[in-house]
Symmetry: C2
Subunit: 160 residues, 2 copies
């Protein structure tokens, strides 16, 4: 899995911490988000762009621009973040090898039902997705000790 | 995910079909397994070697050599096959970016508990593994129409 998943999830939690006490969330420059976790800024920009394309963050242009969460943290799941970075496809891609070689003369109707292997892989994928969809960015933020969130807010309140 | 997972799972089901009515299972040349599903033999050899390293298949050398299942199909799970091909690692690798940058001065004790993000990703991985471990090669073989198994046996009974 792309290391950007870890980065993007932390960025969402951090943006929530910075925004949760603001009536009108101020956008945060991605360069400052990168510095906060010592991440390479050009690569983090790509991950944040993926979050924005997925409607998780929104980009504010201009001198005081940056990014902020596009919706409340309890409406962003870890599944949303993983799908934004990794794409929507299942990890397992069935290529229907069962229809080839010794089975190529069989009528197509025999393959109308999904292959048992693909069916089982799909079931496991759905179990994985259900788990990730059950955890929100708010859950993750709430599970972090309060002083970590407070220190992050103090860190970002300082001028660069 | 490596396409070898689909290949390896089908090979295990096929070996079960070929062996289930044999008192002493005859080894099957990997080249014939490759031909049965039109797979590139040199690449399938690599996947079958991975199955053998994992103790799922065993290799019989010599003129009439080949591979066969190393244990009964009800004792080989889809998880075993996936782990043999993909390796044992979780899809998500936490790199502890939470300890860097703005948090690098924090005492190590603050990071003794796993990060909430890594914890949630691990939970999803375990849900995925549980599902794959609940399906055996025997389950997959039993879910396939009987005539497909019979035709496969007839195909392999013919001389090459």
């Amino acid at each position: 899995m792309n290391e950007g998943v870890e980065w993007a999830a932390h960025v969402c939690v951090l943006l929530h911490w910075l925004q949760e006490e603001q009536a009108a969330p101020a956008p945060v420059p991605v360069a400052r988000l990168a510095e906060a976790y010592e991440l390479p800024a050009p690569y983090l920009v790509k991950q944040v762009q993926a979050l924005t394309r997925a409607g998780i963050t929104e980009s504010v242009p201009g001198k005081n621009g940056g990014v902020r969460l596009a919706r409340p943290a309890d409406r962003i799941t870890l599944m949303d973040v993983v799908a934004a970075i990794e794409g929507p496809d299942d990890a397992f891609a069935c290529t229907e090898i069962r229809q080839r070689g010794m089975n190529q003369e069989r009528p197509a109707t025999e393959f109308a039902k999904p292959c048992g292997i693909a069916h089982a892989m799909r079931g496991a994928e759905l179990a994985w997705r259900r788990e990730l969809a059950a955890t929100s960015i708010l859950d993750l933020a709430a599970a972090t000790p309060r002083n970590v969130a407070n220190d992050a807010r103090r860190h970002f309140a300082r001028a660069t």
